[in-house]
Subunit: 311 residues, 2 copies
Amino acid sequence: MPCRFAVLAGGIGASRFLQGLIRAVPAADITVVGNTGDDFELHGLSVSPDLDTVTYTLAGWADPERGWGIAGDTFRCLETLGKFTGQTWFQLGDRDLATHIYRSSLLRGGFPLSEVTARIVRALGVQSSILPMSDQRVRTWIETPAERLDFQTYFVKHKAQDEIRGIEFVGADNATPAPGVLEVIAAAEAVILAPSNPIISIGPILAVPGVREALAETSAQVAAVTPIVAGRALKGPAARMMEALGHESSALGVARIYRDFLDVLILDEQDRHLTPSIENLGVRTVVTNTIMSDLARKESLARAVLEAVAR
Amino acid sequence: MPCRFAVLAGGIGASRFLQGLIRAVPAADITVVGNTGDDFELHGLSVSPDLDTVTYTLAGWADPERGWGIAGDTFRCLETLGKFTGQTWFQLGDRDLATHIYRSSLLRGGFPLSEVTARIVRALGVQSSILPMSDQRVRTWIETPAERLDFQTYFVKHKAQDEIRGIEFVGADNATPAPGVLEVIAAAEAVILAPSNPIISIGPILAVPGVREALAETSAQVAAVTPIVAGRALKGPAARMMEALGHESSALGVARIYRDFLDVLILDEQDRHLTPSIENLGVRTVVTNTIMSDLARKESLARAVLEAVAR
């Protein structure tokens, strides 16, 4: 599989980064390895939120404001489903539902998720490749003081408000990387960890046996863009999660999580003071503006990453 | 199950009749026994077109112009599904899809179709009961000169244009009536065969072992409204189908198909000349205006049927 750039990706943060990356390199040169720990079943349909966010982004279908779903989508089916099930907390748009209906039908027909994802990607005219981290089921569960929650219940239904006592990637121990995952990590010019949540977006990918080892062993440069800037997550619960699990909520904390395989960390100007501590870990640093506030910023961040990994 | 009126029903013709009937008697006094021979799977979803047409009609959701689907429905999911599957010949609206998603989910969970249908009916606030003819799978197949077609391919995709060599209700021999079907036929004040296609709408119901016998044995009056007027079907391929299978395409032909259990046939003024031949079969006749061109006509037809079955 010819792939110059392998990108390990969660959902929203990764999509913003990819919007910039496809302006800097041909989309066909990119293979995304996507998180499936957030996948779940709703109304009998198999939903893969992170894979879809990336796919819709690369297809030019994404809703840039919301960060999930399809721009301009309507919710008429969901309204009616609510009459039957009372369950409307997870927003499934009418066009978005087509993806879930199609995926569910193929999965029930015995197709692996990697093949299903490839068909969706092709149908939407996406030039990049998108691989799920595994064809086996891996599910992120969140331990809270009161109960153990599946990821979407924690994240969407409970709005990520519960205190976190622990996180488990159920099924990861017995999962294998999807076809192509280890190969692209080994053969890429560079591997880029998108500015996604290190715990619950990149974490499940790293939990699939063989992935972390492949990152350590690849001759490619491995770069990460920290999603934590000035101690805070740009979006979502990453900072609180890192703290809850005993990590420092900073670019340094991110570098420590990735230190066994990371060559270079791209961090924000605001965190320039952290570079000595990070470099002490054996990780190079590149300081730039990592706040992706518009398309130009997204592209310049992508170019900074490409420069950092260029030999 | 308290049921004054049992109505054997296909799709569009039955729905028009039921629109009149619920204006003449309380909806809660009606139990519909619906055809499931048209059911099929599309995009991995279980679709029950006739049950849904009746349900949407009784819920006040039906599209009165088209005769199928939900009034004002949109087709955004289907458009997107078309990108994945290329299959858009069967129109599934966004709100309509919610019914199929919900039904499919429950069926896969092991619920019988009768229970699933009851839940849909309740959720939409329908006061009548709607029973599938059977919880087992019965499928109508059409033999054409070129090939054997499942019903929806023949009817919707091929627009009912193929010549018919034969019709088979696959699975009927081993099916049993759904819970309540034989009971309502036995206990009703009257059983009414709606003006549906005798071959492929009422035919599958009669093909479920025990139904025909129950109609012959019930102490209820059994009435039918002929869907053939002046030798032609008001809608759909009923007349051509009857001829292709060796029946006379007329109210007399309809009476012959039902003669073993029918007490009274309601036929149109235009067919008054057929009454002696029909009465010779031992079937009483009531002549009225059976063309349901507006709501008032639908109600007056319903009242004529109720009068015909009144003791």
